[in-house]
Amino acid sequence: MADTGMTLRAVAIAIPWLAAILTAVGRRQVRAIGFTAALVSAAASALLLRAAPPRESLDETLMVLFSCLALGAMLVIPRRDCTFGTISGMLFILGSTLLAYSTQNLLVLLAAWILTTVPFLAARLFGARTWRPRVGLLLSSVALAAATGLIAANGQSMSIARLKGQSPGGMAVLGCLVLAVIFRKGICPAHAWVADAADSGPAIPTALLLNGHFGAMLVAKLIVPLFPHAAHDLFPMLSYLALATALYVAIRALTENSPRRLLAFLALSQSACILAGLESRTTEGVTGALVHWFVVTVSTMGLFGIVRLLEVRFGENLTASRHLGLAEHAPRLAVYFVIFGLALVGLPGTLSFCSQDLLIHGTLASHPQTGLLLPLATAMNAVSVFRLFTRLFLGKRRTGFTVMADALPRERWILAAGVLFVVLGGLFPNAIVALQSAEAETVEQAIAPPIPSPQP
């Protein structure tokens, strides 16, 4: 059984890497190669999830989610971007992210963490034109490397399972890990690199990088199990930081006119909500955070994908400073956009309604005063996403386009799959919520003592 699991893990991780090399040979079929590799990866991850024990399947669940996300990205990416460099880079990120999710070894985790950033450091691949993304990613890697180095210097094991509950390296290591989370996740004041990366880098690969949610993963996988007692003392501070980030970025987004930056701010604000939920120390909050992880991942990928499709069709100078009226040309893209956008901020009937409900209950229960920031931030995000929708899609019809502008069948089907996920997940949330609730109880039990949930 263990061998089968190992083989499946190897397949899920190695196939995308091999395919990334293969794209150099078959440059004409890069999309087909990328799609096949992501499909194999998703299938292997799904088999792993099926075999995983119920309360210990967070890694496998995240592997399925991310490989499906990469699969969707391979389909939605416009032909103009479908080059050897882009597809191989995305496959490289896929393999590295799955490695980070699946490993139980600190050194491997560090290697995977660094590998996911490599395409964004190389100017020829996804390197942003600005310095902040490079610095943000580098600093997060340095912080994690320092934590790993300190643990190794103390002569302790590199196995995460063996380090559980031992607080290896004490506050110094914990501090480094928290710094790694802050830089990678884009927590204030280290938030600006995310918007820069989205604005000046390639949209879809950047969304893939952000949706790895490595900061949240580090909290769930490393900080909570390794430092349960210290985490208990430190968590309120991290939670305040996350809530402050959610609100700060939500306010910042209100006057942002670049669609990509605005989406990055929304993604950042909602991701900060995930962190706030993880740190709420209530089962509701942690479950809400884990479910919201799914929602943010699918919705932001959909939104970034649609914005990129619009850029390819209508030019790269899209702006939210005036009404562009693109719904007349691309009505289906408009509908997909509004569904993904509102799904991100708690539209009833979507999965985020449940996740936001749990998040609000969890954070308010643990931090009654600061928890109020969460619904406030979500309300502002809703206004921003609706503003972006109205500016891009509504208003006077633009003339002079001769292209077929609306979603192509390939794009239509994959975007419909994303919409169905968030909507069906919202209509029948119990399967996802129950699965994540079991995981949340494991996470919550690792932190002692838990805050009692309100009694009925």
Binding site: I251, T283, L347, L358, K396, V433, P456
Partner: protein, 438 residues
């Protein structure tokens, strides 16, 4: 599940199913004919009216207080439960009835009114989503579920305000209304949390959550914020005239009938809690009175028919709030039902108002004396002028909201943008220096 329970499920779910099926098929490339859509709408709402009549008959004949359908928990985590329970009781039945009757009527009216309009299909989809949201809110047996319907009503309302999407003002007004709704809905979300936190439940199927001390007041004030936002009460009344940019049938059903009364429904639902808090009750009365006065004054200075009707609507809803604050629950319900019916008719006749006036004028033999100036005559000339100026700017409510809430927030946002831009500016200098060196 007995017949009345199955009927209740059908009544609530049917518009949602129609919306989902037509919407999904359209997303995948299919466009239905107008006739099919209007027929489906007519048949579906007619069946819903019959279904509600059957429920009413069942309740009357058996003497039961309510029909309840329990689906268990929508989701549950630890001790927290989101109960999925629908209920039709004496309070919700009138609201369910006006929703299905008026939605069906508006559907039939719009099939002609919006014939060959480019947004015909969009309008009908949103009408179904709105009906689903309203029915869910009115048939919910818990505040958790009520929030879901409440939010759906809000988003459909906004999308219909921006229905004529080629023009900028409706789109911008839609955004403004959305912002007000979302801001006020925070009150509802926090109130639901507070009920869970203090009473362990937010369900009202077997009575309202038991709250003690200051708790009822806090919950009622939070709910009042949400209700005032949805019902366009002072100080949020500024969005109502903006909402008149939508097509007339949607204005009729939203701001003449159902959406505008959703706030009143929420307060009626928590009336026993409201009665426990003198402050909250007094505030409901004061807000209602202020809104009624503001509505009647601003309405008199409105130049277009729909805005005048909107303000007339606002005045009546203000009076309904006063009735709720005083504790006249059933008078308020009767007032809501009567007002919704009359106002919908007036809104639907608004496009032919001049024609109607001319007919009345001729019928009266050319001697139709002006009415509605009784209030003005009570005031001295100077005060009349002052009130006129006040009414022209719609009692300055939008200006106050802009000055004290929106503009400071925007300034803060721009300040944050400047802070973020500092690093970027440093980089641009660095880049340009590098390019020059190259």
């Amino acid at each position: 599940v007995d017949f009345s329970q199955a009927t209740l499920v059908y009544v609530v779910a049917a518009p949602g199913v129609v919306f989902a099926v037509f919407g999904l098929l359209w997303l995948l490339g299919w466009v239905p004919r107008e006739l099919l859509l209007s027929r489906v709408t007519g048949v579906m709402f007619s069946a819903s009216v019959l279904g509600l009549a059957a429920i009413l008959w069942r309740l009357a004949s058996t003497g039961s207080r309510a029909v309840e359908v329990t689906f268990g928990n929508w989701f549950a985590v630890h001790d927290y439960r989101f109960p999925l329970v629908l209920m039709a009781d004496r309070l919700s039945l009138p609201f369910l009835a006006i929703t299905v009757v008026l939605s069906g009527l508006i559907g039939q009216f719009s099939a002609t009114y919006l014939h060959r309009e480019r947004g015909f299909f969009r309008f009908f989809l949103l009408l179904h989503l709105f009906a689903f949201g309203s029915l869910l809110a009115f048939a919910a047996a818990s505040f958790d579920l009520l929030v879901a319907g409440w939010e759906l009503v809000g988003i459909t309302s906004v999308l219909l305000i921006a229905f004529f999407q080629q023009r900028t003002p409706p789109v911008e007004n839609g955004l403004r209304v959305f912002a007000v709704y979302r801001g006020c809905d925070i009150g509802l979300l926090v109130a639901v949390f507070a009920m869970h936190h203090w009473a362990g439940k937010a369900s009202f199927a077997s009575g309202l959550p038991v709250l003690t001390g200051m708790q009822p007041m806090i919950v009622c004030l939070l709910l009042l914020l949400a209700a005032a936002g949805k019902a366009a009460q002072v100080p949020f009344s500024g969005w109502l005239p903006r909402a008149m940019e939508g097509p007339t049938p949607s204005s009729a059903i939203f701001y003449g009938a159902i959406s505008i009364h959703a706030g009143a429904y929420l307060l009626l639902r928590v009336q026993p809690l409201l009665a426990q808090s003198l402050l909250a009750s007094a505030l409901v009365i004061v807000i209602g009175l202020l809104t009624a006065v503001q509505g009647t004054i601003a309405g008199r200075a409105s130049a277009d028919a729909k805005t005048s009707l909107a303000y007339a609507s606002l005045t009546q809803v203000g009076v309904v709030f006063v009735e709720i604050g005083i504790g006249w629950k059933w008078i308020a319900v009767a007032h809501v039902v009567g007002h919704a019916m009359v106002r919908t008719l007036q809104f639907l006749r608004a496009p032919s108002m001049l024609h109607d006036y001319h007919k009345m004028h001729s019928a009266a033999g050319g001697d139709l004396s002006p009415t509605g100036k009784h209030l003005e005559d009570l005031f001295p000339q100077r005060m009349q002028l002052w009130l006129y100026r006040w009414a022209l700017d719609r009692c300055h409510l939008d200006t106050i909201l802009d000055r004290y809430a929106i503009h400071p927030l925007m300034r803060l946002s721009r300040l944050f943008a400047r802070l973020d831009g500092m690093g970027k500016a440093a980089l641009s200098l660095q880049d340009s220096a590098g390019q020059e060196a190259d």
